[in-house]
Amino acid sequence: MLLDAHLIVERGAFRLDLPLSVARGEVVALLGPNGAGKTTAVRALAGLTPLTSGHIRLDGAVLDSASPEQRPIGVVFQDYLLFPHLSVVDNVAFGPRRRGLSRRAAQAAAMAWLHRVGLAELASKRPRELSGGQAQRVALARALVTDPALLLLDEPLSALDARTRIDTRASLLHHLRDHAGATLLVTHDPLDALVLADRFVIIEDGVVVQTGDAASITAHPRTDYIARLVGLNLYRGHASGHSVTLAAGFVLAIAEEQSGDVFVAFPPSAVALFPDQPQGTPRNTWPATIAGVHRHGDYLRIQLDGPIGAAADVTPAAAAQLHLEPGRPVWAAVKASETRAYPA
């Protein structure tokens, strides 16, 4: 492993405890809700926040207490932090200059990178004259020009509008493939992670809750946050045969036989809503109250309160027909065959 770290940072009541390893050429996504410790992890790796304990080994060197300027690490900050008083090319040349290159050589290296990100013609502009997408690419060039062993990307796309985001994500993917070192991508956007990363590390409240590749995480989410991230309703309970008893005493019927502690997951599209209790077919049904209605792509996502909380996706037409509005009581139904149960 190129990066082998165990980051332990304590700050007041918050504690980050994150074992982390990234191979050469690998892109690992660090996902988590706000306040989970993602930015603290980036700062600890970059040397901007001291470790309480643990270790950081990068490319064979121990960096536990090295100052930021001694670490072979490039950082793309969330809002890029391009130096406003320097031109684009001087921003990119800043790193090479500090690492001992002559002015001329640093400028040449910077220009080469500006060519690579397609912004050579903006070399003499000031950062404030750039669009968001351009600034992002300059920040990437500035971080990569020194050929760092580890590249840290802190929410690299979150400052961009939706359209720019798609283009920038594509170009970022291209540059990450060419990057020989390790890359840690911090994001709260699952799509960024899915497109850009080889492996996922998901943290909540400072600790790792799940790791794995995209397929295993979307198939078997292990926390509410991850379930929401991948768009699933998730419950934990005790299985016996074809039924799972949840903590609240509610019983869910499942398709395959299970026993012991399990997770049960089903997508919001599997939840059907009725004005009265539906009859017939073997379904899980329960009375619920509508807690919220939000637009979600072509569907409306309905948040349900009741014996179990759940999200349901319905078409706007169905929503109009059922008069779905907050406070209204409905019946929810999920086929056992649409559920997925797996050991907890």
């Binding site: 930021p68 406003p84 320097l86 500090r98 020194t146």
Partner: protein, 260 residues
């Protein structure tokens, strides 16, 4: 709010304005405009003006060299007693300048704590010399610079400095290549204020450096002296100082006078 101001407020407000402006107007009205040209070229006046410009500029340089690092320490470094240090830095702001002059004499005078050592070891005497004028002016003017620069440093985003560190810049390089350029407008404004204060310095200068024409007699001192012998000369000197003040106000209007 479009409401007529009550007379009880309007009247004192107008009076206050008149009170502030009238003396300056009087200065302009009483000025010996006819002989202004010849007076400006009088050696005594030119000497005082030149000395003032030189000492105020040197004092500003001294304040920059010592005050910018001091402001950086106050804004960027956590150390015990920082609040007390900040309060101490502000003391010359509220201290009567004469008291500052006396204090300087006690420390840097020929028999002062440091003054006697300077005198015996290097043969340097500060009181009643041009260097003493610079010291007195710097003592009084430095807080203006420190306040302005510290404010600018607190307003500047520290994360730029962190970004510089991740790019391999040491703390010193970060200071010279990132921090200083980012707060340059604040430093410039502080330097101008500092220079203006140094230019008008009277109390500490006359106490610590005396009033010797050509050596320690700056413009304000010359005004005071001229008042007793040649009123017109005093007015001309005052006019020059007034012009400089207005000029400074114009330079800084963006930063200090712009309405919210």
């Amino acid at each position: 709010m479009k409401q007529k101001a009550p007379l009880a407020l309007l009247l004192p407000a107008l009076l206050g304005l008149v009170f502030l402006v009238l003396p300056l107007l009087g200065l302009l009205l009483r000025a010996p405009w006819a002989t202004l040209g010849t007076r400006l070229t009088q050696p005594a006046i030119r000497q005082a003006l030149l000395l003032s410009l030189q000492t105020a500029t040197l004092a500003t340089v001294l304040c920059l060299v010592l005050g910018v690092p001091l402001a950086w320490m106050l804004a960027r470094v956590e150390f015990p007693g920082r609040r007390i240090v900040r309060a101490l830095v502000m003391v010359p702001l509220v201290l009567p300048p004469v008291v500052g002059g006396v204090a300087l004499l006690l420390v840097l005078g020929r028999r002062g704590l440091i003054g006697s050592w300077l005198d015996q070891t290097f043969g340097i005497t500060l009181p009643f010399t041009t260097a003493g004028v610079v010291v007195a002016e710097a003592f009084v003017a430095m807080p203006f610079l420190v306040i302005a620069v510290e404010g600018a440093l607190r307003g500047a985003d520290e994360r730029y400095e962190e970004a510089a560190a991740t790019l391999g810049a040491s703390r010193w390089t970060t200071f010279t290549h990132v921090t200083l350029p980012l707060v340059a407008p604040g430093v410039a404004a502080g330097a101008v204020l500092c220079w203006a204060r140094a230019l008008g310095e009277f109390g500490a200068t006359i106490t610590f450096a005396g009033n010797f024409p050509g050596r320690t007699q700056t413009m304000p001192l010359a005004v005071y002296l001229a008042l007793e012998t040649d009123l017109d000369a005093a007015i001309v000197l005052s006019l020059i100082l007034l012009a400089v003040s207005v000029g400074i106000l114009a330079t800084l209007r963006e930063k200090w006078v712009s309405s919210p």
